[in-house]
């Protein structure tokens, strides 16, 4: 009992001490943090010094005032740091005394109890059934009350953003906020797309332009038909894209990634914007082949926004005025040569094919990002290893499809949902040539397998049912994409040009242009255009019998990019410059 009493006394002392110390701490903290803002405005400096400082400003020569400010400043700072230190020490002391208090209390309480006590219990036993009934009523009542309260509280709450509020916020004071520009569901019409060159190989990714007023010859070094040329800050193998009077390109090094916009009329750079995402800026840059570089994928635009992806998996959306809308890192793709697949657009979605790693890694995927926000809308895994094919968007029998090609599967997806529509097993090795669509057939090829034509109206695995023809004799392309002018499909490998019958797959002829080419061939004004790595544009007519070269044009700079076509103009990207070719007299 003696012990118990002394513990009780200790508890008393420690308790009173803790209380006093706690009070002091509160007082100190009030002194330390005066003023508003979470009760934590550090230093009274602003309040007490400010009037003196402004007085000094009125009377800059007043040395006494100056001295006063300096002394008060010193005093305030010392006070601040002293109190801070005090607070920290007092905190630990308080903890100590609280521990003493509680321990003493527990011991006092424990010692007061006799060790063994078996008393007679005289209270009435509670009826457990009654208790349960009370508990059930309470729980039910509380739940109902809660539901009622929440209903009353949120009765007025309605989804305001989904009701198209975002689009209806027009304010006369801000002319920039026009309704359609704010509409997240907006996308360009097919006609608008067809008029421009919004992606790799043109509006439909076919490499065919319907324009007829394009120059047939040029010589950039001598200035013939050269409208302008502008230096590009960072290198890249991506091709120019054009919408209206703006030309877009991207460039990247192992450190920096940039998107450029050029004025189509003058060639002056309208804007350049970096794509820097903190996490990936600090990550190791991907390993890429020199031929691929860090900016191989071509950008895409819908006329209001432009989207760019880089070898490190950074993807960003800008307004065509150069305002960054969003940026995200998709993670560095594991790619032997470097990521090179270009972007495709479908309505207000950016379609990204991220084929990476080996076939067993299961890391490849195709995804659609919301072009307003960059948020993924759907993601579908792809059972293929790294590939370099840019997908094409086709519409066959009213069914829109994104056609991809990789080892071994050629797969078509529903652009709205990402569901697999059909797939065919016919490719092998490093697949890089982008498919072509004509005659109701999808043409695919790779240099280690074959060139094949597939009927895109099947579902599921169509390997055995829908491959119209297949040919693996010769002329299979490595990087250059396929071109189909109707009767014939053309491939190009190492500067040798091959033609196949588009309906039977029969190899027709080969033409050796004695030049190396990385760019994909194009069909301009009925003639085949093929840009070599030395910057020579080989132009010729292809027929059933063979190829007849009709002319050559010179860029004067090496290149791996595919040209873009706009009314009266051809845009070519050299290793260092962007060239605009057009007839000088005409417009």
């Amino acid at each position: 009992m003696i012990w118990s009493q002394s513990f009780a006394r200790i508890a008393w002392i420690a308790g009173v001490f803790s209380l006093i110390l706690g009070g002091l701490l509160v007082y100190n903290s009030v002194r330390l943090y005066r003023g508003p803002g979470n009760g934590k405005v550090r230093l009274a400096e602003a309040r007490e010094l400010a009037p003196l400082k402004s007085a000094l400003r009125e009377d800059p020569k007043n040395d006494a005032l100056k001295q006063q400010i300096r002394e008060l400043d010193r005093e305030l700072r010392l006070d601040y740091f002293r109190r801070e230190q005090l607070a920290s020490r007092a905190g630990w002391t308080l903890l100590g005394s609280a521990i003493v208090f509680i321990t003493a209390l527990q011991l006092a309480a424990g010692l007061r109890k006799p060790v063994v006590r078996i008393p007679n219990i005289t209270t009435r036993r509670e009826n457990p059934v009654k208790t349960a009934a009370l508990a059930a009523k309470t729980v039910a009542g509380t739940t109902l009350a809660l539901a009622g309260l929440a209903t009353a509280l949120f009765w007025e709450t309605n989804n305001q953003w989904q009701g198209g509020l975002a689009t209806s916020t027009k304010n006369p004071g801000t002319p920039a906020a026009t309704a359609p520009a704010n509409d997240p569901a907006w996308f360009p019409t097919d006609e608008e797309i067809a008029k421009n060159w919004p992606r790799f190989r043109g509006p439909d990714g076919s490499g065919i332009t319907k324009l007829t007023d394009l120059p047939e010859t040029w010589d950039a070094p001598s200035g013939k038909n050269l409208l302008w040329k502008t230096a590009i800050p960072l290198p890249g193998e991506n091709s120019p894209i054009v919408w209206g009077d703006r030309v877009f390109l991207t460039g990247a090094s192992n450190k920096a990634r940039e998107v450029y916009c050029f004025d189509a009329k003058t060639g002056s750079m309208l804007w350049k914007e970096p794509v820097s995402i903190p996490q990936s800026t600090r990550a190791e840059p991907p390993e890429v082949m020199e031929d691929t570089g860090f900016a191989a994928p071509t950008a895409a635009t819908d006329g209001r926004r432009v989207f760019a992806i880089f070898a490190n998996g950074d993807i960003a959306g800008f307004s065509t005025d150069g305002k960054r809308l969003w940026a995200r890192s998709l993670g560095t793709p594991e790619n032997m040569y470097g990521h090179a697949t270009s972007l495709t657009l479908w309505r207000n979605r950016v379609i990204v094919v991220l084929d990476q790693g080996g076939a067993k890694d299961a890391k490849s995927k195709i995804m659609a990002l919301d072009s307003n926000t960059g948020e993924p809308v759907w993601t579908t895994p792809r059972p293929v290893p790294n590939s370099w094919v840019s997908p094409i968007l086709i519409k066959h029998d009213g069914r829109e499809q994104i056609v991809t090609s990789a080892d071994p599967w050629v797969i078509a997806y529903d652009p709205a949902t990402g569901k697999e529509l059909w797939k065919a097993k016919c490719m092998k090795g490093d697949v890089a040539a982008s498919p072509a669509y004509a005659n109701g057939l999808v043409y695919v090829a790779s240099d280690q397998s074959c060139i094949a034509a597939i009927k895109p109206d099947g579902t599921g695995d169509v390997t055995d049912s829908h491959i119209a023809w297949q040919n693996d004799e010769k002329g299979l392309p490595d990087t250059c994409s396929l071109l189909c002018d109707g009767p014939r499909v053309y491939t190009s490998i190492y500067g040798v040009f091959h033609a196949f019958d588009a309906l039977t797959g029969k190899h027709l002829w080969a033409h050796d242009a004695n030049a190396k080419s990385q760019a994909s061939p194009a069909l301009v004004n009925g003639r085949i255009h093929l840009l070599t790595t030395d910057g020579i544009e080989i132009i010729g007519e292809a027929g059933a019998e063979g190829f007849k070269e009709t002319g050559r044009a010179t860029l004067g700079e090496g290149t791996g990019a595919t040209p873009a076509y706009a009314p009266g103009r051809i845009y070519l990207r050299g290793k260092k410059h962007l060239f605009c070719i057009g007839k000088k007299d005409g417009n």
Binding site: P60, P128, A135, N159, Q160, A166
Partner: protein, 439 residues
Amino acid sequence: MTRIFLLGIMALILMAGLDVASAVERFPPPDFSGGHEVPVTVVPKPEPRSAGWVDVAVLALGLGAASWLSIRKRSRKGIVILSILSLAYFGFWRRGCVCAIGSIQNVALGIADPGYAVPLVVIAFFTLPLVVALIWGRSFCSGVCPHGAIQDLVLVKPVKVPTWLDEILRVFPWIHLAAAILLAATGSLFIICKFDPFVGIFRMAGPRTMLAAGAGLLVVSMFVGRPYCRYMCPYGALLGMASRFSKWRPTVTPDTCTQCRLCENSCPFGALNPPMPAKQGIERIASGRQRIVMMVVMLPLAALLFGWVGGKAGIASLPVHPDGRLATLVLAQERGELTGPAPDELAAFRKHGSEQHAVFAKAQVLESRFLTIGRLIGAAFGLAMALKLARILFPESSNDYETDHGRCVSCARCFSACPYELVRRGIPVALPKEGGGNG
């Protein structure tokens, strides 16, 4: 003179363009003729702290020890020592982070957002105590959780909370859990961490309100057993649910129960159940068929009702998310509804932000997310409440005094109230007859 000159310079700079976002070289770094060496930027290295796996190891050891002490060893003293150690390690040394209670939020965010990788340590902290609860009951609460330990250690004179109040208050952990999951899964805010009462005490620092709440709750804990665990802890709600299905759990008596009623008031947490007569007693609340019909009606009804409420609550919480808040602010400014100085959010948005319609589009996506997740969580909450009711309506019949399967936190206090336990420990006592002294 100098002053005018300086003002001139400033004005020039101001005109040169104020809204340049960030690091721009307005003044080129000088070439020093005297060969002055430009210092390199120095940043302090991270303080070496125990690695994550050490925490996991301590947690696993603690869980094992707590289970052994409460079920095999039946030692209150051991549990107290373990509590002190856990409080020192997880509380004051690790300063409250990493913690199983907070891990709910990481896991919720991880499940909802495929772009968020939950650290393995956090996954372990979430899973281990729950798995242990399925096997040996809430050992985590007894002496491993620093929050539980600090409350348990300061409990001096427990007061019995009346049944009706206890039942009302026990709904709050579920509300806390639902709100925490909703806000975490949408990536808005981790409210468990933000409104944690004790972490301020562990850090000996924090917002004044947090410290005051912690101190206040500790004073309450001296008289009401574990108020946070019983009436606030969202993880406790989960653990309780798991431990209802545990394989083993602490029993009051090591031997047989003679219903001597000596232990009746030994549990300060309201987790000791008196014998529940089989069938005929319960039938008095409602007949078996009535109860089954009630359940069949109640379960879907509760899910639907609270699903609807949850969706509404979700939408209402949109401004808690930074993007939702920004969109709301931008809209308010657009409509001229904003009074007072523009908040910093808008300043930041104007300075660096993206286009307005992108912000709105984000809000649109977010809102539908809030709605979906809110509905799901609301429905789950409704089901939890209905099941709570079901558990009361379908009690397990037992002849003995038993620890409540969900509520017992394995603190080992009730053991020494049982005369058979005293016999087990070798203390000579006269065993009482059945039903207490006047039974």
